[in-house]
Every structure is written in structure tokens, then in C-alpha cells.
């Protein structure tokens, strides 16, 4: 069974071929909070460095990450902290 963390990492790798990528599952820290589901897999942090972000504003970089993960947002991903940079 693939975890959401795996799927996020794969989607971002496919979309941006990042130089650096970290995906953290923070769901446990939000347990019991509105939006947290019993099975977890709701809250994540992504740190990504890729050429695709060069010359783009923070808003544009975050939009690219969100768009690459649209399927996950549609299936229960609730919160995503994003650190997206160009090398």
C-alpha cells in the first residue's frame, strides 16, 4: 500500500525533478484538530528545491506545488506547509 507521503514525493518528483526534496507527515501533531482524520495523512510539510521555481514569486511557486498535488487535495490532504526554492 502506498502512503500519501510516497504519492506526494512521486508527484513532485515527476512534476519538477527536484534537486532536493523532503516530505514530512505532520498528521500526528494535529491529531484531534479539526480537519485531522482518524487515519492521519492530512497534514504535511514539503521542502523542495528545483529549477522550475527560478524567477517565480512565492505565490507562483506555491501554486505550482499545489497544482501538482491537486489529486491529493481532492482526497483528504488538508494542510500543506510549503518551502519551495530555486537552487
Amino acid at each position: 500500500m502506498t502512503t500519501r507521503k510516497d504519492r506526494i514525493a512521486r508527484a513532485l518528483t515527476d512534476a519538477f525533478t527536484p534537486i532536493r526534496l523532503e516530505v514530512e507527515d505532520d498528521s500526528a501533531r494535529h491529531h484531534g484538530h479539526a480537519g485531522a482524520a482518524p487515519g492521519g495523512e492530512t497534514h504535511y510539510t514539503v521542502r523542495i528545491v528545483a529549477e522550475a521555481f527560478a524567477g517565480k514569486t512565492a505565490l507562483a511557486r506555491h501554486r505550482l506545488v499545489n497544482e501538482a498535488l491537486a489529486e491529493e487535495f481532492g482526497t483528504g490532504l488538508h494542510a500543506l506547509a510549503i518551502e519551495a526554492r530555486a537552487p
Binding site: H33, A34, G35, A58, L59, H62, R63, N66, A70, F73, L77, H78, A79, L80, A81, I82, E83
Partner: protein, 112 residues
């Protein structure tokens, strides 16, 4: 606009200089990310309107499609989407949020 809720949102962001769509209220944020943006806006002494999306499911979904942004909070200045929690915090730390507000004609406390 396709959805009636979008007309409501559009009216709010155009008739108020600074609007924060959030979970909970500025006095009682119900989410850590919303709370962080409230703290920043309070620190800047910026007058703003907080709108609690938890009060209305249509609004909670509609705000995500309005500006094609999947998460809450969402900050708008002079009718324009600025960003979510990470972007607002990043801009604040680099002094960009202050200049963005001033540039848009929104008074910011200058003393630190």
C-alpha cells in the same frame, strides 16, 4: 460568476482593504495556521476583516475555488490574493508584507 458564493467573496474582498478568510475569528483562531496570520496582522496594526469559513460550508469550499488555492487561511489586500500562511510569514519576515500593504495604501505601524 458561476457560483453565488463567489459573488459574496468578491464583494468582501473588494469592499474591504484587508480581508483574512480563516478558521475561527481573530479573537479565537481555530487553527494554528490561521492564528499565525492573525498574529502578524495584529503586530503590523493593520485594520482587517476576519471571515470565519467554519460558519458556512459553501464558503469553506467556495473560497478554495474562488482563487484556485486549496488551503485556508487566505489573505487578500485591496481585492488581490496575497497568499496563505507560509507566504504571509515569509513576506513578513523579509519586510515585504509591510511594503506590500503600504504600497496598496494600507496604513502599517512603522515603529517596531
Amino acid at each position: 460568476m458561476a457560483e453565488p458564493i463567489h459573488a459574496f467573496i468578491d464583494n468582501e474582498v473588494k469592499s474591504n482593504d484587508v480581508v483574512l478568510f480563516m478558521k475561527g475569528t481573530p479573537d479565537f483562531p481555530m487553527c494554528g495556521f490561521s492564528g499565525q496570520v492573525v498574529q502578524i496582522l495584529n503586530h503590523l496594526g493593520v485594520p482587517y476583516k476576519g471571515i470565519n469559513v467554519l460558519e458556512n460550508d459553501q464558503l469553506r469550499d467556495g473560497i478554495k475555488t474562488y482563487t484556485n488555492w486549496p488551503t485556508i487561511p487566505q489573505l487578500y489586500v485591496k481585492g488581490e490574493f496575497v497568499g496563505g500562511c507560509d507566504i504571509v510569514r515569509e513576506m513578513f519576515q523579509q519586510g515585504e508584507l509591510q511594503s506590500h500593504m503600504s504600497g496598496a495604501g494600507v496604513p502599517v505601524k512603522t515603529s517596531v
